[in-house]
Symmetry: C2
Subunit: 244 residues, 2 copies
């Protein structure tokens, strides 16, 4: 049974303001909660249905769990069709330091779903670090977490002044544009940064001045553009293909 | 001003039943309606706001247009935030015949958004023909049309018995699996079929028996899977890269 206070807390954490105030966020749904329980992220509290508890009791032994019924759980969920579990989790804090390998950087990617898909892709392609401009969507938005399909537990994100960050780098900085060099003709270095831009405006002027290599995904037909998450997937595949 | 009957017709075409009964579908939003007006698809009627009509009058000269206000238009729209235009359009019928080049085939892709994204990708990669199993989502679902970003005017789709269709083919049939050969090690032929499967179950057993080459997108990290539309984009990019 959820108390009025618990209901209020869960509802409030769907808002950015409350997430910022508390430094906490929600993880919802069976797949994402299981990934959470297998990670080192710090659990504040966990609300699960009896079905979920029975199925996954071995992960729950020492956890601060509350059993609730499906109807209660659905009511407080901020994603569609969650009838399994909701967790309140402490937001991890990562310090920007030396980063080797491929680093992904997002210049004002606005849509939480796109951000979540990009985190899932980073995880597929073995990319550990994701640097976000101040205006990029919130990693801890329920839609973002949901779209990561568990990858939020593995990819480290850093929200920072992207211009200042890129200014300090000496490695190649690739940027995705509609008029760059074909990615099919590029060979990716081991250490590099790849910048993707905003859904409507692409990479901003001040960031584009810091890009060392303008790349593009070659087009064989007529669509005007690709979605930014799709472009990220195709670029990362080309990068890994030419590195190996 | 929209009559009660016009409102009813527009609302009804958001349902599969009505689309099947009438052989018509809706195209909504500025971008998709403009692409429609630049295509040879047969317009039944067109409802536009005055703003849209003023901005695009040169495309509207001889069209059967009705001017409506934004509020009315929003009310009958089945996609979010449409304040520009809605068209009723006749569904084109394409006859399955000889198809050269790369043909894409979908084995029960369920989600209309995924289908729309795949149509957009097919258009980007210059693929003209998309063969759909009977259980694949409806091309004329408003969510599908919306996600194509205009590509529905260029890519030809064929709904058919996929098994019977593949049985008749003599060209290579590639299928995307989690345990196939790395797509980075494959060279794509000029004439071929690529099969993508259902979001949860992948390619069905009976279709997988007809696949001549099992391929996979190599994974460098830990995500369990990629979304089917994402996988389509990455595979098509590899195909075009190795054909050229």
């Amino acid at each position: 049974m959820l108390s009025k206070n618990q209901q209020k807390t869960l509802k409030a954490l769907a808002t950015k303001k409350e997430r910022r105030l508390t430094g906490q966020f929600l993880v919802q749904g069976e797949k994402n909660v299981l990934e959470l329980l297998n990670s080192s992220l710090e659990l504040v509290s966990l609300f699960v249905t009896e079905t979920f508890a029975d199925k996954h009791f071995k992960f729950l032994a020492t956890r601060p769990i509350h059993i609730v019924n499906e109807e209660e759980l659905s009511k407080v969920s901020s994603i569609t069709s969650n009838n399994a579990a909701i967790a309140i989790v402490k937001q991890p804090v990562f310090e920007l330091g030396e980063m080797s390998g491929v680093v992904l950087a997002l210049d004002d990617v606005n849509d939480p779903g796109n951000l979540g898909t990009i985190i899932r892709l980073a995880d597929w392609y073995g990319i550990e670090h994701l640097v976000l401009s101040q205006q990029t969507a919130d990693v801890y938005n329920p839609k973002t977490i949901s779209a990561t399909m568990g990858a939020f537990t593995r990819v480290k994100t850093y929200r920072t002044d992207l211009k200042a960050f890129l200014n300090k780098q000496s490695k190649p900085i690739w940027g995705a544009f509609l008029d760059g060099q074909s990615i099919h003709d590029c060979s990716a270095p081991t250490d590099m940064i790849i910048v993707l831009g905003n859904e409507s405006h692409g990479i901003s002027k001040e960031i584009s001045e810091l890009v060392t290599d303008k790349i593009t995904i070659p087009k064989y037909g007529q669509s005007e553009s690709l979605n930014v998450a799709m472009a990220t997937g195709i670029i990362l595949d080309n990068v890994r293909r030419t590195q190996s």
